[in-house]
Structures are given as C-alpha cells and as structure tokens.
Subunit: 367 residues, 4 copies
C-alpha cells in the first residue's frame, strides 16, 4: 500500500485511473522561488499526448494541466511558494463502457489478473490504475523537475534508439529535443527514423505491436549526486525506469556489452580536464560508487511490445474458461515515441530529488 509516492525531498504522489474523471498529483518539496514556465510544462505533456501523430492511439485527449496550488503570481510570472503543487488533468475521452465486456476476462500480459489477485477487486475500465494513462501525472511533475534542473545546468534528453530490430547506427549520446522531435518517431537518425515509421505502419496494419529501446542521457550533472549505499543514483534511476509500464531491460553505460570485457579494457581512465577531473571513456555511464562523476549519465531502457492488440484473440475468465477477445480499443502499435516523454520525466524526478539531497551532504556548503 501507499506505493503511489516517488522521491524523498522532491516527492510526487499521484492518483487517477484511465477512465475516471481525472488524474493528477501532488508535487511536494519544490523549492520556493522557482519561476515556473507553465507553457513549457504543457509542451512536455504534449509529447506524451495520445493522438499527436499517425503513430499513436487515436484516443483524443487535450491533456491540459489545471494548477490548483503552490504558485503565486509575482512580477508577471508564476513562482513556486514552497507549498505543494496540486494539479489535475481531466479525462475528456473516457469511455468506461467500452470495457464492460472485459469485466470477467483476464487479458494476456495485462495486469487484470494480478490486480484482482491482489485486491480481490478490479477496475476493469481500461486497466484502471494499471493503465499507462497514469503516467500523465509523472510527465507534469517531471516537467517541473526539469526546470529546477535547468537552474543547475542539467539537461535530460531521450530518444528512440531501436524499434524491434531497427537500430540507429550511432553510439548513445546527447541529442537535443529539436533533433529528437524532428521526426515523429523520435529517433534522431533520419534514415533509421524513416524505416522505423514504415515498420510501425506495417505492424499497425496487422493489428499488432512492437517494442524496442530508448536511450536517455543527462548532461551537466555535477559530480556528487547520489546517496550510498542503497539510494545510489543509478538505483533510484533504475527504480524510476522499472516503475514504467513496459520496461523489460535496463543498462547503464557499457551495459550488458560491458560485461563481456576484461577489467583492464573496461575501466575508465581519469584525465585532467582543465578545472575538473574527467574520464577518457564513459563505460561507467556517469556514475561511480552510486554517485555522479560529472560525465554524461547514459541509460538504455528496453520496452516490450505492448500487450493490447487490435487483432482478435482468446483468453481465460475468472473461472478459467476460455473467452474470445474481440481486439478493439484505442491503442498504440508502438509506445516508444511517446515513452520518450516518460523516461525523461522519471529521470528528471530522480535527479531533482538528488540535487536537493546533496545539499545536506556536507557540514558547510562549497563547490
């Protein structure tokens, strides 16, 4: 219970289901005095919005944030007061009745069965709380976190590196939002993006789905963020990424590939970079001993093909009887282009939290 809160000092609690009246959250711990660019928050949210391109679900949601607290107008800007930020996002296109036929059915690889096993109760309306629509609140809060990080010189950007077997031919590195969003598939390599788009279109035609991999890079993170031994920076990033609905794999820096190397090859040599110590390579992915070392933080996140198909199938009901699944609904053939917004939001939440936790690390403040 009480699993709907994330973070320590910068802390998000969310509520809401796919087909209830609204979703929303409370973001507690945002320092006072941050002039919040509400349009930038909305822009982040728009990258997650359904219906933004032909690649996504046709469900129509304006997904506009309503701010209920924590902000005060000051010199023409909305500034955080130190009070918790309460916000809602209305469900304007909820169609709970579309799911009445699923009341007694467990859809394959959905949370239908496990939720019912847990609670003795299930919200069958579009997955209820288990729906990926729940992540809308995370993107709102992540957008606030992003602005707090920007004040500290930190930028977070993710992109689609691979759809099914179509992988862009470049190693993980930072790509600006402009580059990433140049193509609706959000792969910054135009030729690969084009092929990914075709693949997604093919899969959609079949009523099927595909997964792939995202890369996330945070740059400008100063050395010193992360808390040994359990709240290592990458442990919290891992929890963040694995709290998303479709994650199947996670890699940091050299990742699984790095486990094939010898230590003498794998180690990142320290080098002097003028005023700071840097590393010649970045197999550590910007984190050593659970603490950022000033290099880019680099993650790869594998996302499964989503479970909801548009093709008919079968499953079992509560009594174990086989039932037909008609294969309707409004769903994405490939969630990765929209998931870019999710992994960025979660990374921003983790980094913002650790930026505040770091303030308590030393007796006196310093560089």
């Amino acid at each position: 219970m009480a699993g709907n809160t994330f973070g320590n000092l910068f802390r998000l609690t969310t509520f809401g289901e796919s087909h209830g009246p609204a979703l929303g959250g409370i973001l507690d711990g945002c320092p006072a005095g941050l002039a919040l660019d509400l349009q930038a928050v909305q822009a982040d949210l728009d990258r997650r919005r359904p219906g933004q391109s032909a690649l996504t679900t046709p469900r129509k949601e304006s997904d506009s944030v309503e701010w209920l607290s924590g902000l005060l107008e000051s010199e023409g800007r909305m500034v955080t007061t130190g009070a918790p930020l309460g916000f809602t996002v209305a469900n304007t296109s909820a169609k709970p009745q579309d799911y009445d036929h699923l009341k007694d059915t467990f859809r394959p690889s959905h949370a239908d069965f496990s939720y019912e096993a847990k609670y003795g109760f299930r919200d069958h309306r579009g997955g209820g709380r288990s729906s990926a629509r729940e992540t809308v609140s995370r993107v709102v809060a992540g957008a606030v976190a992003r602005q707090l990080l920007a004040q500290q010189g930190v930028e977070v950007s993710a992109y689609v590196e691979r759809v099914q077997d179509l992988q862009m031919p470049l190693p993980p590195s930072f790509h600006s939002r402009e580059e990433v969003d140049a193509h609706p598939v959000r792969c910054p390599h135009p030729e690969t993006a084009r092929r990914m788009e075709e693949r997604i279109a093919d899969v959609k035609k079949d009523g099927d789905t595909v997964g792939g991999a995202l890369v996330l890079v945070a740059r400008g993170v100063p050395a010193g963020w992360g808390e040994p031994v359990f709240d290592r920076l990458h442990a919290d990033l891992a929890k963040a990424m694995w709290s998303l609905p479709a994650t199947k794999a996670l890699e940091l820096g050299s990742g699984m590939q790095g486990t094939l190397m010898r230590g003498s090859q794998h180690n990142d040599a320290f080098v002097s970079r003028g005023d700071r110590v840097g590393t010649a390579t970045n197999r550590s992915g910007g984190i050593q001993g659970g603490i950022s070392n000033g290099e880019d933080i680099v993650l790869r996140i594998g996302f499964k093909p989503v479970a909801t198909l548009l093709q008919p199938g079968t499953s079992v009901d509560r009594e174990g009887q086989t039932v037909d699944l008609p294969g309707r609904g409004r769903h994405d053939p490939c969630v990765l282009p929209r998931a870019v917004a999710l992994v960025e939001a979660m990374a921003c939440l983790v980094l913002a939290d650790h930026s505040l936790r770091q303030r308590a690390a030393r007796l006196t403040f310093g560089a």
Copy 2:
C-alpha cells in the same frame, strides 16, 4: 543522506566500512514468532565469504555474525520478539595502512573521485563505505528474510549463467542450491562451470578481472505481491539489484530479447492450472502490472568486471597529476560466484517486505 536504509515494513539499515572495526545492521520489522535458524544464516554468509575457494580474494575473514538484540530463547530455539535485530560482523583482517599510498589518488572506475566530490572527504582505506565488503550486512538480513519467505512457501535461488562470453546453454530456470554450489563457480551446468573456472584462472594470472551475468529465480511467490504504481514489485527488485556495487544491466523475463518480438508473439497466454490461473509462457517474468502473478520471477543481472586490477597502471591525483598505481591488494578476479549470495539476499529483502505490505491490501483477509 540517509541512504543506508532499504525496505518499508521489513527494513534494513546498515553501517560499516571495509577497514573499520566492524560492519553491521539493524533489521526492523521482522514479525514476532519466527524461529530463526542461526546456522542457516551463517551458511548464507559463508557463500559470500572471501577466501572460500581459489577463485576468490585471499583476504581471510571468518565473517561470523554476532546477534545483539531481537531474539529470545524459547523452547530451545531463538525466536524473534518483534524488536529490531541488531547484529555486527567484525573485520578481523582489516589492513587500513595498505591503502595509505592511495590517499591522494583516484583509482579508475572506483568511487574514490565521486565520494570525494560529494563529501569533500574520503575514506581511502580500501574504498571505505563504497567497498563491496559493505554487502556482508545485506546477506545477514537477507538470510532472515529467506526464512520468513520459506514460511510462505517462497524459495529464491541464483546462479552464474555467464562469465565473460562463456554462457551456459540452458534458458533461465530454478536450480537448487545443491546444484548451484556443486561447483565453486556456482554455475549449475557442469561443463560450462569447468570452462568458466579455467577462464577465471587465466584472467587471474594476468592480474585482470572478468564480469558476466547471473540469473535469479524466485518460485512460490503467490499472485498479489507488489504495490502500484511506483513500488511495483520489479521496480523494487530493480532498485535492489542496482544498489549492488557492480551491476551494469538488468532484465526481467524475456528481457532485451523480448523487445525484438511482436506483441502477438510476446504475450503470455493465460491457462487454467487446476485451482489457479497460470500462463503458458513466462515472458512477463512472473510480474504483471508490477504485481506477482504466481509464475516464477525471473531476473538476469549483468555484472561488470571489477575495477581493481592486480596489474600496475596509472591514474590521476587530486591535482590532476598522473600517478602510478602499483596494482596490489587482495581482490577477486571474478566476483560472480560470490555475488550469487548478494542477489539472493537483495531479492529476499524485497520479497519479504512485499509479503508484509500485501497484508494491508484488502479490507478483510482471504485467499
């Protein structure tokens, strides 16, 4: 700060450095009335102990647990009282002076630099708090968790699936401790184990290190454990695994391979299994929507080659000057055989915690 606590209802807090007088921890929240088999705890700890075979560091530590609280003798057995379990493990072979030459040096891919960046202060004695020796307390607590889980029919077992490129030719599945420990390399496939052992010997001769992959399987976990939306069961398992010192990659169920499939191929069909609902395949890895579904929980964890080499090298000091590293110390050429104990311990901690959290999920208790 305050990152040295793990878990919610079943909660471990640890202390201790590699070369201080002792390490230890406090395990809070273990239900009263558990008859604890202290020898079994020690047996778990012995699997982590240095010097247990020719494959490991020659550092000699008896690693015996001293219990300080929380237990009362009752009918000849030591039984938990509901009070926190305090325990220590002495460092009998600490040699802090061995590290004096490293006082001003940052060893590559160690936490030397990042700790100093964080705290403005560094415990140079063998890595201090960042040393893998810190995990000794986790294994003690994990062993208690294992016994709590056994009462609920849950077994957790891990093994070495791959050392560098040598991978056993069988898909992930449950192997008993007997099978796993039959060979000191802890790979349950004898032919592969033999080859892994040779590889480790070769690498050791070169003063080098290798990594690889572990598989962890939890069986008997009832459907219903895990807390949406942030404390998903696999999110907490991910945090647990990524809080270990050498983790580079994590996969659940079908893992990265699964992201190459189409949804229609990837979905796990529900089937009726007599008195319960099961799945025909287990690409979900036993967890759906963040909640266990009654199938085996299956993780793969990639471990990097450890950074401490026995061969000489160079690095930089605090002023960015190049310094020689002599390449001495007492270290493992491959930590995976001992890491089996660590990943099992962390998984047990997570599962024990969620077994207690699940007790609060419903208004009334029931099946």
Copy 3:
C-alpha cells in the same frame, strides 16, 4: 520539504491554500473492498464547515468533496479498489484581494513572518498554506479512516471540555456524536454549553477570541496497536494533534495532573474482565509502552485563542516599521466547536494507519 504527507500505510498527502482555486488530497493505502458511505464523509466535513452556526466565521463555503479516483460502483455502492483516493474541495468564497493590504505586514502570532523567513516568499492571501482552511482535506481523509475503523469496532469522538475558564464538571469519557452535537458549541454538558455560548458571543462582540480544551476518546481499540520505540501510538497521536494550527498543550490519560501523584497511586491495576485483561483505572489513557491496551484512549488538547482579531491593532512590516492592522476579515471568535472535527479526523488517521501496521506484527495472524 515534503512535509505534506502524514501516515505510513494509510497515508494522506494534501495540497491547497486558503484563497487558491481548490484544496484536496490523495489518500493512499486504503484497503480494497471498503464500501464507502460518501454521505457520511460529507457529514463529517459539514461539522468543520464555516458558517454552520452563529458561533463561526461567516465565510460561506459549501465544502463539498469531489472524488476523482479510487472508487468503483459495485452493487449500488462505491467501493475502494486499492487505488489511491484523489479528491478536491473547491474554494468558492476565496477573496484573495481582501489581503492585498497585508502584503508587506507580519500579523502578530500568525505564520506570516516565519513563512517568509523560511521560503523567502510568502503567500499573503489569507495565510496561504498556513491557513486552517488547509485542514479541510484532513477531515475528508479522516472520514474515510473512520469508516475503516468502524469495520474494526473502533469509534472516535471528541468534544469541547472547556472554553477559556468554563469547564464542564465531568471527567473525560466517551460521548456520542448525538450528545456532542446537541448544542452548536459541541460540549455534551448542556448547562456548560449554554454558558460557553454566551462567552463566545461576548468575546465576538469585542472583536476578540478565546481558546480552551478538547477531549478526545477512542473506544474499541484492540490491545496491540502502536509500534515501539519511536512510533508509539501516543507519539503518533501527539504528532497528529500538534500538526493542527492552534494546539498549545496535550495530555494523555491522567495528564499533567497525574504527574502530581505517587507511583503507588498512579498505577493502573490489572483486573480480569471475563475474556480479557483490563485495568481498574485508566490513568494510562489506554496506552502502555506505546501500545494500546484495550482501554479507552483519552487525550486532552489545549487550543489557543486564535490570533486573528476583528479589532484594530498594529504590527511591523518587512522593514520593521510599525503599521496599522485594520482588523477585518471573516474569522471565528472560538475555533473549538469546529476543531472537534479536526481532532477526530487526525486521531482516525493515526488509528487507521496503526490498524494496518499491526497486521505485520506477527508471523501468523491470530486474535
């Protein structure tokens, strides 16, 4: 930061200011399967509502709860699903402009100065987050907690024992809501209630305020709730009561009076009460060693006279200059009648939380 969350397994997070668009909260951890009587929640809230009698502020607020998540209709009733309950209460009578003249002034014994000292920022609109209006969300959540407790046979009731020096001539004991609400002053001793009412009217005429004391009794709490050593049941109750805006004193059982006695007089003798062990007296106030013992839990809470006067006065501004305070606004001459709802809500939150925590105390479930 992040101080807007209360509770562990049954956990409330709130947002909202006195003169923003809405207040609200997220209640996480309510077990699934509770049929929630929404009208009873509203009834609890109505006891806190401004304008309910001539004794209270004339500010008009309907204070009706909007439920946004966590409930599903099942057989004609609204039942909790295990998902977090999100709710809002609109501010329909906010008049932020009424406070423009206070922008640069620190009102005496308000939070104006300390908030500004903390955040470098102040929401001057009616006290912002420091306003007692914030407690509206607590009453909503407390009402849900009350219904969870009712399932376990627990009842919580509070009443006004004293207004200024007018104290009812009976020792603390349980009084039903019917008795308490028989008079708008919420003192169950009619003669004293009448005199209290007159006193409040007198004070109001002077533009002044008065405080007093409340008694809270929880009956039916089974022995065994509370968690040593820091989360003692009364430690959590104390935190709850002291988190309210006007608390100045708290007593448990025999209270300050009990500290005048000798141990031989003060001890509560155990007696056999048929099927259970009870105590002959209840100076312990129902809690021993931080754990409930099955007797009534009895608290006395002292509330100060509220700081906002309707008579003119002076104060200082940010520069330390003396400024006039005109003494307008819409405020209560005595908050105690409405505070009954607050202390009950907070006690219900604590007890509901501990009822769930108790589920994890033993290896096996039992009586």
Copy 4:
C-alpha cells in the same frame, strides 16, 4: 513494524533490550566534515547513566560508547565521513534471571501486557525493548546532533522545573548546563532543588516513585526551521517527546495556561530588534505556523511517576489470576534528573534534522 527509526535527513535507528548483550544504533545523514568531540558525547551519556548519584538506580553501567564506523582520523581529530555512524553500548550489568519470576505476570502500568497483546510474545527480561534503558542510544545520537547544532549557533538545555508539587518559582527560560548540573536533581533553583532532593529521598524510603515536569529551551534557532503542514517543528518535537517512556503532558510556550487568555492578550507583538524582527513576548514558544521564528523554543514536558515500585504489590497473570509482585529490582524513585538528558537528546535530533531539511527550502541559498 519498523518503528525504530526517527528523523528524515538526520536519521537514527536503534536496537537493543535492557538485558541483552548490547544496545546501539545507526545514525545516518550526519553531514561529512564534522569534527566530533567524542568526550563530549560521553559526557552527555554520563548525565543519563544509572548510579550517577544517590537519587538514581543502583544499577551499575559504565555506558561507554563503542564507535564502529563513519569516522576517520584527520589531523588528530575524529571527523565524520558522510558514512553512517554505527555504535554500541554494552550491557555490563544485565541480570536477565532477575526477571524469571515475571515471565507470566503483567506488571501494572508497564508494557508487559500490551507487548504480549501485540506480538504474541514478550521479552520479560526487565521489560526488554520497552525498558527506558533503550534511550541510551538516543542520547548518543542526540550528542552528535548537539554538536552539529552548535556549528549553527544553537544550544539546547533542559532542567527539572517541578517534582511532584514542588515547583521552582521562575518562569521557563534558558539555564546553562553548569547551572542545571550544579545540583544532582538538575533544578537550577538551589532552594527548590534542595527540597526536591528531600522529597525524592522520602519517596525512596517508601519504595515509591514521583514524577513532575521538565522545561526544555532551545536558543539560537534561526527563523525558518519546520515543514508545513504535518512536519511542523513542534509536531516533530511533540512526537519526539511523546516517544519517551514516561511522558504524560506537553506544552509549548504559554501552554495550557495560555488557553485561558483572550487572543488580544495572548498574541505576541512583533518588534524590531535591530537587524531582525523579534516578538515582545514569547507565548508562541518560538514557533509560528509550525516554523521557528527566531525566539527561544520553549517546551514543558510532564513525566509520570515511574511504574516500577520497590514496595510489594499484586497483579494478574496471563490467565487473569492474581499474583504477588515482590517489589524488587533496581529502579529510580524519580527519573526526572536523568530525563534531562533524554529530552535534550530528542530535541537535538529534531532540530538537527530540520536544520538539514531547511537547506532544501529555497531555489537559491541565502540568509
């Protein structure tokens, strides 16, 4: 469960029972770089030690702290490294067998019954975890907190204001340790101290006990500490004080007496104090809206007469049968002189925690 941790960023977890081998704790979150005066820690602990004067229990314990981690010698001083501080205090005078006759008996106003009701299990050896001996770990951690606070100009001091009905004739104010410790009863008013000492001697002769009241003052706390709305500074102080074994009453500033006043009399007028804003009176007790305002923080804590008598009595056993209590053991006739150390320690823990939390309150650091 898991109630043995206190604090957020500055966080203490404790273990240990009255008659086990040792007690101890882990203090996590102490900033790196604090040169810890270990003798001063021991001096704090000595004020709590049994057998320090004729007023206290004859139980002999040296109560010396063993430090196990988190410190490194640097330039001749022991300095915190940022790693958790692990420590133990041995029980050298444990006599568990002295309690064998109590195995099946519930002593009046002790935790015997409620612990057994909770855990289905009881550690009968001197109260086990419920013993006040548990507080030894709090005093160790509180002493570290005190040194962290000293760096910030904050001093915390408590004294005995009243024993039974003998009250010193001065309003609460700051008294130095020198003044307080001038008399073993720890009342800074010599004439009252002398009479208190006589009273305690009389009571001891009768095998009885007495309680009374302590005053605690924290001075030098800057304006701005405390976190609305639940983690108000006095809410956390209240939880701290009520987590002690004998607390029956708590007052802040004007306390219960203040609830007799009118608002116009009770309000603290703001005044300009040169470079800062102060208040002419301090009925608020240094905290407004849950946040410190720069004035002295003033608490009064009522302690009951401890339950363990040296005179014979009766009680009931598990079956409800009357049993004789012989009235032996080693106990204090009045715990207040030693409790001075406890309330100071708890206040220091709360203030140190909030001093770190305050660091995250604003976007940029400032005055």
